[in-house]
Symmetry: none
Subunit: 247 residues, 2 copies
């Protein structure tokens, strides 16, 4: 079985920057989503000190969170990044910044840029998001398409959604189906068993045999059984027929 | 500027089912993500009572959360749904359920199914996820592609990521499907009828009830019945049960 690490994108150059986060749960949630999607570099700009301390000392805090770096300003936090995205709930924040919607194309674009260097993804504080000053450090804005009336996402959830999209594997695997198909002969045994039960129970009316047989056969075909299911179903039907005959 | 409501998919038939959630913050987070992505129907199966109360009474709790419905079991919670997904972190949970990866194709598939009826998305409890018994009510499993070493996502973040993918604006044409899908409630009637016949015929051995019930339910789900086939099959099963009871 192919493991996910084989498929998923290399996000080692992706940097998540939380600007002035205030809630330790959100800091922890951001770190957890990073672990889920294989992103390692977490940076915090002026976090609320108590919140950062609590998040780091929480039970089960990840290594990633413990290694998170703290910066006094956005400029320093993104200094080594070739492309800086500012996330925003608003779709038309400033005329100066191209706004990219989070979607498959944007994800692909980011993965291309990652081949050339670090890419930063900035998330603002829970209350006010990123400021115009923060945006001045951004090349592009990134908008998660949400409902017009409920645009503002929870910080941890916004991080999860962005990283899910960016980590998307280029080519997706179809769901595998490994079942052994059932033979027509086996299906016919089920059909005949079921027909016998229907006869014994009075479901089949006189003169209606042929029609009923056709109906049952087509139904059993539509069940789309695999070999194992067919065996189980045949066992059930035979037991019922045995009981009906016996009485 | 195009607003999102113009582009985004119609998810009015999508039902989010939280099974045994224990953390009020996660319940609130799930509801918030639903608001973000335009999903309205929240159902909870056996939530931890204190958690549900706290989530509902939290400042800023959404209307959606206040209208959330509570159920005692999964069967009732999904009774009106034609397709039931169980979310799982594990990629190969059981051989009996097709596992779909969350991706663009799966999203498109769900949107097609939504054109024909309700679709349920089940999320398990924070600690243990969904149980095998929960899975027996599911048609398909849905896996969010995460890193092999950090597969388990936070509940609120998992909900957000799934709804982000499902709400993705579909430029794709909906495939036409004329069949009316069968609801889980109708399938459960077949399951219960077949179980009664199996009891009456001696197929079910003492102490084997629960296992057998699960086996039958999964088998009936795999039949992939449409509404008409389900009606026919239910009629057959009921006639057989009537006869078995009578003798």
């Amino acid at each position: 079985l192919q493991t996910l690490s084989d498929q998923s994108a290399d996000l080692s150059g992706l940097v998540v920057v939380l600007v002035r986060p205030r809630n330790p749960l959100n800091i922890g949630a951001a770190a957890r989503a990073m672990s889920n999607f294989g992103v390692r570099q977490l940076r915090l700009v002026n976090p609320y000190a108590v919140a950062f301390r609590e998040a780091r000392s929480a039970v089960g805090a990840s290594d990633l969170l413990k290694k998170a770096q703290e910066y006094e300003n956005v400029a320093d936090a993104v200094a080594d990044c070739g492309l800086v995205f500012g996330t925003t709930a608003v779709r038309n924040r400033t005329l100066h910044h191209p706004v990219h919607q989070l979607n498959a194309e944007t994800g692909e674009l980011v993965r291309q840029k990652l081949a050339n260097g670090n890419v930063a993804l900035l998330f603002g504080s829970e209350k006010i998001g990123l400021t115009n000053d923060d945006f001045s450090h951004c090349h592009w804005l990134l908008n998660i398409p949400t409902q017009a009336r409920h645009i503002s996402m929870n910080l941890g959830q916004a991080v999860a959604v962005c990283l899910y999209e960016l980590s998307r594997a280029g080519t997706e695997e179809p769901a595998s189906k490994s079942e052994t198909p059932v033979t027509s002969g086996e299906m016919e045994k089920i059909t005949q068993g079921l027909l016998e039960a229907l006869h014994a129970s009075g479901y089949v009316k006189p003169g209606n045999d042929a029609m009923c047989e056709k109906k049952v056969r087509e139904l059993v075909i539509r069940f789309g059984l695999d070999a194992m299911d067919a065996k189980v179903l045949l066992g059930m039907v035979r037991q019922i027929v045995w009981k009906l005959r016996k009485d």
